[in-house]
Symmetry: D3
Subunit: 317 residues, 6 copies
Amino acid sequence: MPRIVTFGEIMIRLQPCNHERFAQTNHLEFGFGGSAANVAVTLANYGIDTAYVTKIPTNTIGQCAVDSLRRYNVDTSLIVRGGNRMGICFSEKGFSWRDSFCIYDLAHSAIQEATTADFDWDNIFDGVDWFHFACLSPALSPNVGEICKEACLAARRKGAFISCDLNFRGMPWLRQQASETVLELCRYVNVCISNVEAANDVFGIKVEETHANDGRVNLESYKSVAYQMADRFGFEIVAITLQESHNTSEAALSALLYDVADDRYCFSPKYDFHIIDQLGSDDSFNGGLIYALLSGKSTQEAVKFAVANSVLKQSLE
Amino acid sequence: MPRIVTFGEIMIRLQPCNHERFAQTNHLEFGFGGSAANVAVTLANYGIDTAYVTKIPTNTIGQCAVDSLRRYNVDTSLIVRGGNRMGICFSEKGFSWRDSFCIYDLAHSAIQEATTADFDWDNIFDGVDWFHFACLSPALSPNVGEICKEACLAARRKGAFISCDLNFRGMPWLRQQASETVLELCRYVNVCISNVEAANDVFGIKVEETHANDGRVNLESYKSVAYQMADRFGFEIVAITLQESHNTSEAALSALLYDVADDRYCFSPKYDFHIIDQLGSDDSFNGGLIYALLSGKSTQEAVKFAVANSVLKQSLE
Amino acid sequence: MPRIVTFGEIMIRLQPCNHERFAQTNHLEFGFGGSAANVAVTLANYGIDTAYVTKIPTNTIGQCAVDSLRRYNVDTSLIVRGGNRMGICFSEKGFSWRDSFCIYDLAHSAIQEATTADFDWDNIFDGVDWFHFACLSPALSPNVGEICKEACLAARRKGAFISCDLNFRGMPWLRQQASETVLELCRYVNVCISNVEAANDVFGIKVEETHANDGRVNLESYKSVAYQMADRFGFEIVAITLQESHNTSEAALSALLYDVADDRYCFSPKYDFHIIDQLGSDDSFNGGLIYALLSGKSTQEAVKFAVANSVLKQSLE
Amino acid sequence: MPRIVTFGEIMIRLQPCNHERFAQTNHLEFGFGGSAANVAVTLANYGIDTAYVTKIPTNTIGQCAVDSLRRYNVDTSLIVRGGNRMGICFSEKGFSWRDSFCIYDLAHSAIQEATTADFDWDNIFDGVDWFHFACLSPALSPNVGEICKEACLAARRKGAFISCDLNFRGMPWLRQQASETVLELCRYVNVCISNVEAANDVFGIKVEETHANDGRVNLESYKSVAYQMADRFGFEIVAITLQESHNTSEAALSALLYDVADDRYCFSPKYDFHIIDQLGSDDSFNGGLIYALLSGKSTQEAVKFAVANSVLKQSLE
Amino acid sequence: MPRIVTFGEIMIRLQPCNHERFAQTNHLEFGFGGSAANVAVTLANYGIDTAYVTKIPTNTIGQCAVDSLRRYNVDTSLIVRGGNRMGICFSEKGFSWRDSFCIYDLAHSAIQEATTADFDWDNIFDGVDWFHFACLSPALSPNVGEICKEACLAARRKGAFISCDLNFRGMPWLRQQASETVLELCRYVNVCISNVEAANDVFGIKVEETHANDGRVNLESYKSVAYQMADRFGFEIVAITLQESHNTSEAALSALLYDVADDRYCFSPKYDFHIIDQLGSDDSFNGGLIYALLSGKSTQEAVKFAVANSVLKQSLE
Amino acid sequence: MPRIVTFGEIMIRLQPCNHERFAQTNHLEFGFGGSAANVAVTLANYGIDTAYVTKIPTNTIGQCAVDSLRRYNVDTSLIVRGGNRMGICFSEKGFSWRDSFCIYDLAHSAIQEATTADFDWDNIFDGVDWFHFACLSPALSPNVGEICKEACLAARRKGAFISCDLNFRGMPWLRQQASETVLELCRYVNVCISNVEAANDVFGIKVEETHANDGRVNLESYKSVAYQMADRFGFEIVAITLQESHNTSEAALSALLYDVADDRYCFSPKYDFHIIDQLGSDDSFNGGLIYALLSGKSTQEAVKFAVANSVLKQSLE
């Protein structure tokens, strides 16, 4: 069985119940999440041997975060314990014309104040086949950028395949300020998952008209973006997601996977769906894609599986 | 006022709140339901004098089941008390592309281990105008099949009209294994409520194309199914429901009623609707149909009333 | 900063959670609302200096009502305390084809048994720019009608602009019985907010066909209603809302604002939306309209802002 | 099996969860209660054929009240439906040194505005062995006093035994103002349940020192009160409860039963206990006493059973 | 680090919230528990490498049970998956004079219908230092008795220490019917945890007066019970717990540990405490005792630690 | 009416419901609290004109904090808005032998990163009679220490009386590290509220035996502590609280007030009580004491009132 390691920040997630707003409630749902942690849970759910690496404080709240991952069979034995606090995401679900939003309180979290000395990557990557991280964390903190770079180097040494999420959907403002760190990390990445907005903002890749005159999606423009990304950074696979939000409660999702070796562009079907919670939709795409590729599905099947996985995730509380 | 008796299994129903999954929650909604019990509640709500007959353990949980029926004015004085356990249905509501499902834990329930000695049907049917049962319970357990047969014979003796639900929607796998018991019971039934899938699986009635080339429903094929069923078993009324599930949250419902005496086929309008909970949709169709027929509505009005009743039920938590 | 006073009845609002019915639940949501109170909260949320005037008992429940307003920065210092009880609204939210409904228990509330001696309007209107009231309360009780009339006279003396909500959506039966009191109060009103049904029932204004043969809204008929109302009562601004309920969960809203001085008819865009809770949709239209007008938006912008505000409100729990 | 009828007011009961205060919460527990209704539920729980008589509005909320009684097997078929509203009790549970309290909103309830024409007592008392009512309702409203008097006369005619609760614990202020109506009703009562405070306030019965110098209860003084009450009104049984509240969460309960025919004074043991909810403690004493007497227990056993029943009731949510 | 294996039945636990009764509620707390599973969680919480062995169905509910253990770091990789259902415990918490109770629905559970072929004990006990089981499960089902016997034999072969809980507190009626199976298993046990009632009922060990004339506990009688048990079965350690329930909410706990090798009787201090939930009190005693002995505490310290652990457990929801 | 200003840190308070632990729950109670904010709410509840001063971020969560204070009639118009985050207190309530605890995540909160430039104290203290602050915040952060010193100087200039809470009960470890900042601030304080532990740790005041040989409290030792504090810092009033925790659920509270001008030592009665939540017990003592002194009660009455207020507070959720 293949073994995967994912790395990134895990946050406390606090959220009003149902469709309530913070201003109306005195009870919050209490959970934990983060891009790489969500990917780890997805993969463990599919039966993959998955370890999640991060730094979490030793207090009761930190222990709850570890328990929440262990419950879903994620290997938590490599998590470094220490630091002062966990980052927090206060998220409010919108409805219909009312937008969802998140207030992030991430500064000074254990992982953002961690140093490269905290992680022994050569040991971590023993027997590991795949390494996944998201670019939000390295973009947020130089420390995490450094740690990530060391991780990529070690992964390469150990022969692990590397995938990276460049969507930046949770914090779109990071697209501008993140480019240097991110560009350097891209050099080590085999599978890059992104969207058109990030390709433009982070890499300066100009997109041709994404919609034709008749309002239909211009497939060629997506192919061009994927090609340019692969061409510039040497990615082996580029996946471009296209989520169209009709409103806060309804959306459609499709994706393009560009398989460089075969020079093949695979478009998934487009799914229309109702949304319970959009948070983590990219992570479930990533997890689905990695699982599909690891388990030997074709690239065409893989991109469909990844989209379906994300659609199902958005129908969960 | 007419008096009705319904017979069948009542289960404990355990269900996560809202759209949560079992894997996410540590609180469950705690209620009771079952095809014939639901029909009884519907009829009592419409003011019909309705008794529900089953066997329920004498413990606190069994008493809660009785209380839950009494609350809605169902006559519970004929329920036999005894046996070891109640069956349980763990049900999880889906959303959008995510399916709903039920896990049944029914074996060894009080009613499935009951014997014909438990029920004095001649006494039960004193002054009763209508007897209703669903075929799930007799299909699940030979004991219940025997009890049901005795009930039908007594009902005939006492001059009660007999209706039966043959949809098997909750447990479609029973359609194959249930046929013998069911076929025998059908001989006593006046009003049979079914759908095309059950007609095919249980009775081997072949259905012509249900949809024409243009995607519209082929009404003639439904009429043919109803006709064959009536022809074969001597039913006086056959009702065929047609629920089209667009996805877990949206559906359309219509129905056909075939009135044999008048050789008249009555189609209801088709209602498009959003779903909160689909469980029990057939039971509310049945209850609505029986109420409509008992209260003197025409067969055309009755099938519309039954469909509307089912649509409203699916908008309830 | 402008200062507004709103006047009317505030009720205890008791409502089952989510989509439950009263018959299913033993827990209720406990809040407070009322047309003029809701308008006050909307305006205070937008930063307007807003006082709400009513009469509320001195007991713990009354204090909770005051606290609930103060929380949203409404000036509650002018509320008269006394009387025996608060009115109550038991409201049940429908879904899809199932209707929402309210059971009102308002008789003998503190405000309905208040007298003109309870309110020193000249003092209340010191430095006040705008006075708003809804016609439900004066239509329900002669006492409130008298108090309202004194308020209008004082507002005029003090130079405050007067707006009034004539929708009667919550209690449509009042449209017939309310006319005399209401007609008299209209003489003092500058901005009148209504709909076609109320215009017909209260004022006897005949409406031409509101929909053309092709099913599209006949804009001229709305313009005609607005014109007749302004012509008859001397309103400076008439706003006509048009909420089309597709079903309990989905609707569309648009509105017409007739600016008499400019003889200008401004139509808002039409918004299609999903509904969480429709209660208070008129109040949020009113609050949005008043805020927009007070903050110097054009009448065209104002009617759009008011509609958007109402649409957003209906997406809240 | 004996048949009992109880009569009185049933209220909506609204209460914050756990130990929250109204000022802290936006969710309330929603239930129904009232002295005579609670006695009916107690008796039905013990298997006695019990009907509850009152007047309840025809709306959804009124139906919920009826359902809540039917659930516990109380015969609700004699309840008169009509009137405008139900009375409401807002109750807040205290803890330790913090007191519990109720805010009553009872005026103009259906039963308080009922007339003697609403009840056909001779019909109601057909085959009835025992009639129970509490004096709160007749003391609150002259209408109810008149109805109660007619009920007592009919009960006498039909040979039913009559019991009455004169504790007035929920509304002690009524003790003063209630005397005339109450005194007249007492002439028909066989079993009177009261306490020392009510005996003093309502009947002017002077109590000797209830506690001796050493702090222990002076049993003779209780015997004297019971004797005087029986002597003056011709009661056959007088029960005097003695609840000592150490604080809101802890209390002790004992009682004296004076059996006039045997001239026997029976003291129950004293139970020390923790309290979850004190509301209804008298009603459970009454229900327990009536059940014990009806089922042939000795007066000594009966008073112990009644006290134990009340103690258990106070350990329920 | 030592490694422990525990074996037994895990049940679904369904319980009303707070102090509600089943008859009052439509929401239940949903969890999992069982004697040996609880011991495993306690040990894993203290950092011991602990595996729990049982048989659990493959459905969603069974997966939730596995997740709930994994969350607390119990090794679940040895759990056999299969069978038809999980046993269920409906438990209601009492208060003050109101008793707690459980309704068990255990028959035909996966583990009770398991066979010896399901478990490869020699493999399971590789590297294991301690094996713990409770006698409830083997007493309930001959299958489990057989499985347990094979486990004990394998544990002996592999050199694992064996402890066993003989309290039978949850199902006292089993003490009578369980003796044969249990007596045979006792031959393999090193550490036996029991109480005086079980010693009497299961082993027929007569207890001298446990309380002296002055009401104080007679320590000699407890020492005698422990001595007789050790003498008869060759236990190395016997622990006797003594929980005195003042009422449902208050109790005291102490224990005696008899260390046979040193012929030493160690009494713990007695703790008085308030109870939130008594279920599992023996399991936490067992877990605490095993942990203390494994981590090198003296027998005197160990019995105190075990009692304190049980007292703390009973203060948890 | 007197006007009070209180100053300090307000935190988000997140707490499991009832007696659950963080490890068990996925729902938290969401509120706000802080020593000086709690004092402000107490005083506003008693009808005092009270403003609370602090710095709070401009985001939605910060707005909720402001709303929560405004709801209880605290003047929030002087609160400075800005900064990056609010401090958080994760608090878990214990029970019986299980301790309560708090995990603080306060670093980098808006108020701790505020500067003296944020507050215009001369303006804030216009017309203010009393200034209260707690020493936790200045002890935690040099910035707050500086701000507090400027506040005290301005209060003196404006003639406001100054009170200060030196209990440090929430964070006892601060007693050692806080001394310098605190000692300087003490020079400006008129009323100092403390306890024996803080007097020892912060000021090095040696306490004689607080308990006599017979276990009773040695009143003279408390008088000595109060005298030494007043003597050293020139306080006009010193209040010393004495909370005896029997266990997490039960405690006793009394207090001593030393009135320097009259050289009078006033001891309150001692109250035994059950605890729902101990957090904020000192704040309610402070608020009660300030209110009592402001409203003209004698010092003997004031200390009793303050103790009773704290006891009642601890009986609230």
